[in-house]
């Protein structure tokens, strides 16, 4: 098992590196195909200034050469300097933004999974009753509502009308609204997944076996059923956590949270080559990592799954 497992890890690592390389290549060439430069702005600069700037950042060379140079430098851990936020390295900016996004994202993701599993299980156990129908209606509404609508409504109701919570992310308690608006969609989604998964499992023979042994109903559900219901939730939760941790562009912009999502949108607006590349690589790595954690969790939950 162990040797096989290490071989599996090695294979996954190779696949991950290949994926990241492809992401880098595609982003790099597509980005350079856009007819805009990091130094184009409303205020006209003289050609000489632009040429000097491009020479300084190495943007004067042919694109393939730039690409190789970029690969060479990131292999040395150098993700370059930002041109949009002059004087900052890409790594520092990403770390700064991620510290906000991860804080919001981790709370929201955890909230979504825990509440989703609980609500979904309750709905399944109350199948057809009023509570189940209420949960169904609410989750359908939440799943079909775009996050910018949700965030705007929350902002309007809780920050402006009621005044209970601040509207800006950098104020004390300011992260509560972003967390809620970020968690509602995945929570509703997890609830629906969990409901159908629980209904399926409750009809299984081994649940009947557990009852026939004299196991308490609550234990039948929380021990025998729950572990079997989690596979679909894990499938969804892996990528979901990756997206949510790396920051939502919409929610962070609406609540003015200086997180990674806002950084990403702004770096695109500023055609900040180095930042776009840096954030993209970070995002891809996070998604790969979360998918990997998800796969490992499959094995923990269901011993029949053979990873290797």
């Amino acid at each position: 098992m162990n040797a096989k497992f290490y071989a599996y890890l090695f294979k996954r690592l190779l696949m991950a590196l290949l994926t990241i390389f492809l992401v880098i290549a595609i982003t790099f060439f597509v980005m350079h195909a856009i007819p805009a430069s990091p130094f184009s702005s409303e205020k006209a600069k003289s050609d000489a200034v632009i040429a000097a700037l491009e020479a300084k950042y190495g943007f004067d060379k042919p694109v393939p050469v730039q690409f190789l140079n970029y690969l060479w430098s990131i292999l040395h851990g150098d993700f370059g300097l930002s041109t949009g936020w002059v004087g900052n390295t890409v790594i520092d900016l990403i770390i700064g933004g991620f510290s906000y996004s991860a804080q919001i994202g981790f709370t929201a993701g955890l909230l979504a999974i825990v509440l989703g599993v609980v609500f979904g299980s309750i709905a399944a156990l109350q199948r057809g009753k009023a509570l189940d129908k209420l949960i169904q209606v609410l989750t359908t509404a939440l799943v079909s509502m775009p996050s910018f609508v949700m965030a705007t409504i929350l902002l309007l109701v809780f920050a402006l009308l009621l005044g209970w919570l601040p509207s800006m992310g950098n104020q004390p308690g300011g992260l509560i609204l972003p967390v809620i608006s970020l968690s509602l969609y995945p929570m509703a989604y997890v609830t629906r997944l969990q409901r159908s998964s629980m209904l399926d499992v409750l009809g299984q023979d081994y649940i009947r076996t557990a009852r026939a042994k004299g196991v308490k109903n609550t234990k039948v559900i929380f021990k025998h059923a729950l572990k079997n219901t989690l596979t679909p939730v894990i499938t969804y939760a892996g990528p979901m956590m990756a997206y949510i941790l790396t920051g939502s562009m919409v929610v962070e912009n609406i609540f003015s949270v200086p997180g990674l999502g806002r950084l990403f949108t702004n770096s695109m607006l500023r055609t900040d080559y180095m930042m776009i590349m840096g954030v993209t690589i970070f995002l891809a790595t996070m998604i790969i990592l979360m998918n990997f954690i998800g796969d490992i969790l499959y094995k923990v939950v269901d011993p029949r799954i053979d990873l290797t």
Binding site: Q204, D205, Y206, R208, T209, A210, R211, A212, K213, G214, V215, K216, N217, K223, H224, K227, N228, V301, D302, P303, R304
Partner: protein
């Protein structure tokens, strides 16, 4: 006093389209150390009867009326908490499909231990020792290794052995076996039956063997109940049922058993038609619509069970018409009524 006494049990499923009467007035007694066979085709209410006794019916099914007494103690109406202490402890059940009856995400040992700890004061360690002992008892090799394995790592026959070990871990008075061999291949079937019989002798329990396999019934049962449409058509000793079937349905079942001793190629005679719709149970004998010899009264009035031998009852109007039955249990020495062709 019988160990288990079921009287006029009615169990129904309340579906949106109406009440499905799955069990319609089932009565029987089970004595200590005996094997009672319940036969009948799919949908005749065998399994539902078993689930009713255990009270593990799922929505929308429930016991409508009747009485189930274990050692004289009424089980119908007992609280869930009280029933929990009986399930797996006094009465155990093993199911048809061992492939799906064990939880795939917990080890065999975990599931065995759970059953043991639930009903005894054993510690986790003692329960594990008991689990190993039980696995050894049901003939599983290397039990110390097996308890750390999952169901998917075992074959079908082994899984059914594990199910039996789990059911017997707390030494129940009654083991209900709900078609325990149906999902297994023939050689394994024989092994499992043999195992159940030897354990029954060793532990002195009673068995309710639910099956649609007449061969199984002939091999191991002291007494047989033939069920149709949730009720009893005929009951008696295995010999009486096999050699002197006194109900058209039982005869049909017997005719549909292939006769291997016959050299000539003979056609099997199936029972034509399909079981009645339990949503709309007709007033007469439930088998009448499929019976070749049905009379007018068969369609109008449901026959009660009449004695047709000292240990043999049948609910068939034909016996009444032929005067081949008794209202009371006949005296010892009365000859078995002959088949009335």
């Amino acid at each position: 006093m019988s160990m288990l006494e079921v009287k006029d049990l009615h169990t129904s499923f309340f579906t949106p389209s109406g009440e499905v009467k799955a069990v319609n007035g089932l009565s029987f007694q089970l004595d200590k150390g005996k094997v009672l066979g319940i036969v009948g085709e799919s949908g005749s209410g065998k399994s539902v009867s078993a689930y009713s006794i255990m009270q593990i019916l799922t929505n929308p099914g429930r016991i409508v009326s009747g009485s189930i007494k274990l050692h004289g103690e009424e089980l119908v109406g007992k609280s869930e908490e009280e029933m929990r202490k009986i399930r797996g402890n006094k009465i155990s059940i093993i199911f048809q499909d061992p492939m799906t009856s064990l939880n795939p995400t917990f080890t065999i040992g975990n599931q065995l231990r759970e059953a043991i700890i639930l009903h005894t004061d054993r510690s986790k360690k003692e329960a594990e020792a008991r689990a190993i002992e039980m696995l050894k008892l049901v003939g599983i090799s290397e039990p110390e290794k097996r308890i750390h394995q999952y169901a998917y790592e075992l074959s079908g026959g082994m899984r059914q052995r594990v199910m039996i070990a789990m059911a017997l871990a707390c030494e129940p008075d009654i083991l209900i076996a709900d078609e325990p061999t149906t999902a297994l291949d023939v050689t394994i079937q024989a092994q499992i039956l043999e195992l159940m019989l030897s354990l029954q002798k060793e532990l002195g329990m009673s068995i309710i063997m639910i099956t649609h396999d007449m061969g199984v019934i002939a091999q191991i049962c002291d007494e047989v109940i033939v069920m149709y449409a949730g009720g009893v058509c005929e009951r008696g000793t295995a010999d009486a049922i096999f050699y002197h079937p006194m109900h058209e349905y039982t005869r049909g079942l017997m005719r549909s058993i292939p006769d291997m001793s016959d050299d000539e190629k003979t056609r099997l005679v199936p029972i034509t038609g399909t079981p009645i719709d339990l949503l709309h149970v007709p007033p007469g004998c439930p088998f009448a619509p499929r019976c070749d010899r049905a009379m007018k009264i068969c369609l109008q009035e449901k026959p009660k069970e009449y004695w047709v031998g000292r240990d043999h009852l049948s609910a068939c109007w034909m016996n009444v018409k032929n005067g081949a039955c008794y209202e009371e249990r006949p005296e010892e020495g009365t000859v078995e009524v002959e088949e009335n062709d």
